[in-house]
Each structure stands twice: as C-alpha cells, then as structure tokens.
Amino acid sequence: MTTLLEVSGLGITFGGLKAVQDVGFRVNPGEIVSVIGPNGAGKTTLFNMISGVYKPSTGSVKLDGENVTSMDPYLLARRGLSRTFQNLQIFQTMTVLENAISGFHLQEMGPLLADLFHLPSMKSRAGKAETEARALLERVRLGNAAEKEASSLSYGALKRLEIARALALKPRVLLLDEPAAGCNAVETEEIDHLIAEVAASGVAILLVEHDMKMVMRISNHIVVLDHGEKIAEGRPEEVSRNPKVIEAYLGTEAANA
C-alpha cells in the first residue's frame, strides 16, 4: 500500500522555544493513526504544521509523494487534505446548511460573473452542492437543523457540523483534532462509527483525541508525543504497554480514571 501522508523530522520553534521537534510518521489509505500525549505535548501544533496553518522550521510533509511543506491550507485542500479544529472554527453567522455547503466550495466555485448575475451555470453548481450538503447533514444527524443559524447549535452538534464540512471536501487525508471533545457517550460512539466508516472508504485519518477508550478502540497505529517529541509509536496494545508512555501519559490518565 502506498503511503498517503508522510511526515518526517517536523519541528517548529516559537520565540526560541522548541514546541515540536523531529516528529515523523506515516499514514496509509484507510488507516487511522492517532496522536496522543499530555496537554501541551504539541499535538495541535503538529496538526497546524501539517495542515499549513503554521510554517514548520524543520522537516517535511509529503502528500501522496508530493512535498507540500508550508503550503497554504487552501492549496492543500485542493490536493485532498482537510481538517477540523480543536476549538471550533465554524462560520457562526451562516446557517448550518451554508456551513456544510462551504465545504463544497471547490466544487461549486465558478466564474464571478455567474455569481453576480445568478446565471444558470452557477445555479446548477450551487444546487448540486446543496443537495450533497443536505445528504451529508443527514449523515451527521443535522438534517433537521439545516436552516438554523450555526451559532444556535449545541457544542456537540457543532463538532459534527465541522466533521461534515471537512468530509464535504471528499478528502484523501483527514485530520481530526479532538472530534469527540465535549460530546456525551452516545455522541462519542456516533463519531466513533463515522470515523471508522470514513476510514473504511479509503481515507487516511490522523486523529488527536483525549478519549483513550476511543483511541484504543479505533486506531490502527498510535504516535505518542511528550514535550514536543515523539516518545513512542506502535499498535495500540504495544503503546499501552510501553513504560515510557505510561510514565508520560497513561500514568496520569489512569490515575484520573
């Protein structure tokens, strides 16, 4: 199987401080790779570098063999990489449906003049995007909320909306930053199924999640970060037995559980 996402030697410094250092791993199509680690380990920073939001100081990111390091997110989106955010980045004043449609931006975008004068070509493109967006909203159980303003939704519903928006791009690589945070047990299980389903369709998934049960259940491979460095990686059962991991992360987590 060819590797879809290949990260090697990735690192970034903020004001002289090394936030992430020399992190590398691969994600294959259909595979779910989770990045875990205590708070402040650099998981979200890593995501921001891979998705082009931050420019890494060292290392490289390859998407299906192409070097895409430091490429702007909108160009990465065109190459099939999409993501969600830990602290929701929803278009609050737009409706739920419009949020979902915005995920189809690349598909519905056409000449500006068609938009200004509502030419038939624009209507057919936008109509198709709307149909697909509604289907996607049904899939994340937001069909009934389509016409509501996004800001009126609950936190869990917004999480699902963000996943829907990311899926709308029909990505080859999907980065999910704590998709189940703030969700109840039922919602978490739904998201769990959704992720597995998406992975089964051949998408490479990179996941940051605090819900250890979920991570252990659905991941094919786990990368453990601590203080910005990779301290271990492997299959879930290997990682959970690794003493370094237990010390850095699972130890504190187990004490809380």
Binding site: I90, T93, L116, H118, L169
Partner: protein, 316 residues
C-alpha cells in the same frame, strides 16, 4: 434574514411609491441622493458586511468615477455615459492593483492603508489643477438621456429624471449584491469573514476573494461618484475626501453592515439627517456627532438587525 425577493420588493415599492408623498420637487433631489449613496453603501456592504474587510478610503473611487465623467468627455470626446463605464473599469483596475498588497493587512492596518489611498486620490484631484482645475471643481457635461426621453414623449423635470435614474441604478445594484450574497463567491466571502483559517482549509483562496470584493465595491463607489457628478453637472475633489468615505462607512454600519436593506436605511437616514439638521444651523455638527455615537453605542449591529431582533424578541 430578510430574503432576496422581499428585499427587492420593498426597495422597488419605496422607489416607486415615495414620490406620491413628496410635498415639493426638492424631495426628488434628496431621494436621488439617497439612491446614489445607497449604491455606494451597497458596495461597502459587500466589502464590510460580507467579507469583513474595512475601508476608510472608498470615496477615492467615487472621485475616479466622478472625474472620469468630467475629463473623458472633455479630452477624449467620450459620451458621459461611456465615460462613467470607463471610470468604473478604471476604478476596478486601480482597486485590483492597490488591493493586492493592501488586503494582506488586517483591522486598523487595513484602515490606515485604505485611508491613505483615499487621501492620495483626493490630493491628486485637488493639486493637479492643469487637468482637474483644482479644488474649485470642474464642470461635467450633460448625460443627454433626459432629452432622448423627451423625444419619446416622457417629459420629466431634471430632478425627477435623476430620481428615477438613480433609483433604477440603486435597485439593480441591490439585485447584484443580493445575488452575490447567495452564491458560491458570497458564501466564501462570508465564510472568510467568520473564520479565515477555516475558510482556507475548505479550499477558499482568501486573498483572491477579498480582492474580488474590494474590486466590486470599488466599482459600486465609482458608479455612485459618476452619478453624483452627472446629476450635479459639477464635481469637486471633496467627493473623494476622507469625510465622504467616513459618511459611507457610517451609513453601511448604521443600517447593519450585513444587509442591503440596511444599506438603504443607513443611506436614507444619514442623507436626510443633515437636511433636517440645517434647521439647527450651528448645532448641526454637534447633533450629527451625537447621532453617530448614540447609534453605534445602542445599536452596535446596526439599525436593521437591532430592530429585527426587537420584533422577533417580542414574538416569543
């Protein structure tokens, strides 16, 4: 949100029905000024309300549009109507050139850069007297359309003609802006307003879309400047001045920067207000400043959204 059809209906009714209530022909003049301002403000609604970008220099484009109507007929022999269109294209081209570097800036930095641009335009218009005849202004030729209408039997007074002409221009401008709102580009603009970072991750070319919004709004401002010049048959560099830019931005924000209907009400209020305030003579400025402050303090989302919320709140 008020839908596109309802908005257009309300605007059309306002344009058509208002003259029935005009006590004198002077009101046609105010009506047409409202529409001209409304047109420019609609452009700013696209830039500020949809895309969330600020400009304190859009009157500069009105200056380009207005002076095109004065200079192109005089020097190149163009028809004033054609001159207005050439002016709009020129404004769009300048907006495109200036916007590329400027729109990378955010918030107050964008504000000062656009402000600087507007001031530069008004200075050039005031100082290059060999071309523009300087601060005292320059004459603008007649559009000639009124005479054509007379030939086909439509006999309108000058102020009536400009009322209907500006009114139609404004409704068309509103229609285009409403089209844009509910289109892929409009959604992308509103998306980048909501979260630029998320907009980029869904594939939106943020720089390009901001530039498009800037160019479109510049064309609106330019056409408004041309309309103003043509109906006054005269134009001065003040049309491009800082206070004119501010007036338009205030109208946009006062009405509720996100909506075209708001643009109309903002333009209507702030165009009529000074006419009313002249009664208070020397207290005019005090009252104008006071109104600006009070509106923004008590209706920070603008008039229309605040009123709509009040109505909906009562429904519940």
């Amino acid at each position: 949100m008020v839908t596109k059809r309802v908005t257009l209906l309300i605007l059309a009714i306002l344009v058509i029905a208002s003259p029935f209530f005009f006590p004198s022909s002077f009101y046609y003049r105010i009506g047409s000024l409202i529409f001209v301002n409304g047109l420019a403000v609609t452009g700013l609604v696209i830039l500020i309300g949809y895309a969330g970008q600020i400009s304190l220099g859009h009157a500069g484009f009105a200056g380009i549009g207005g002076y095109s109507c004065a200079l192109l007929p005089a020097h190149l022999g163009l028809h004033p109507g054609i001159a207005a269109i050439v002016g709009a294209i020129l404004s769009g081209a300048i907006a495109w050139l200036v916007g590329r570097p400027i729109l990378r800036l955010k918030g107050h930095y964008l504000a000062i850069a656009t402000l600087g641009f507007g001031i530069l335009v008004s200075m050039v218009l005031a100082n290059e007297a060999w071309l523009t005849k300087g601060p005292d202004g320059i004459e603008v030729p007649d559009l000639g359309l009124k005479d054509v209408l007379e030939l086909v039997g439509l006999d309108l007074s000058n102020s009536q003609f400009w009322y209907w002409f500006s009114g139609i221009a404004f409704v068309i401008g509103a229609w285009v802006a409403l089209n844009l709102y509910d289109s892929p580009s409009g959604r992308a603009l509103r998306a980048l307003h909501g979260s630029e970072i998320a907009a980029r991750t869904v594939g939106i070319d943020v720089a390009r879309l901001k530039l498009q919004a800037f160019v479109i709004s510049a064309v609106y401002a330019s056409l408004a400047g041309s309309l103003l010049a043509l109906q006054n048959k005269f134009i001065t560099p003040d049309v491009a001045g800082f206070m004119h830019s501010i007036e338009w931005v205030t109208m946009a924000v006062l009405g509720g920067a996100g909506s075209v209907l708001g643009a109309f009400f903002g333009a209507a209020i702030l165009t009529t207000l000074p006419q009313v305030l002249t009664v208070f003579q020397e207290y005019e400025q005090i009252l104008l400043g006071l109104v600006m402050m009070l509106c923004m303090i008590f209706m920070r989302d603008g008039l229309l959204p605040s009123v709509l919320r009040l109505i909906r709140g009562k429904d519940k």
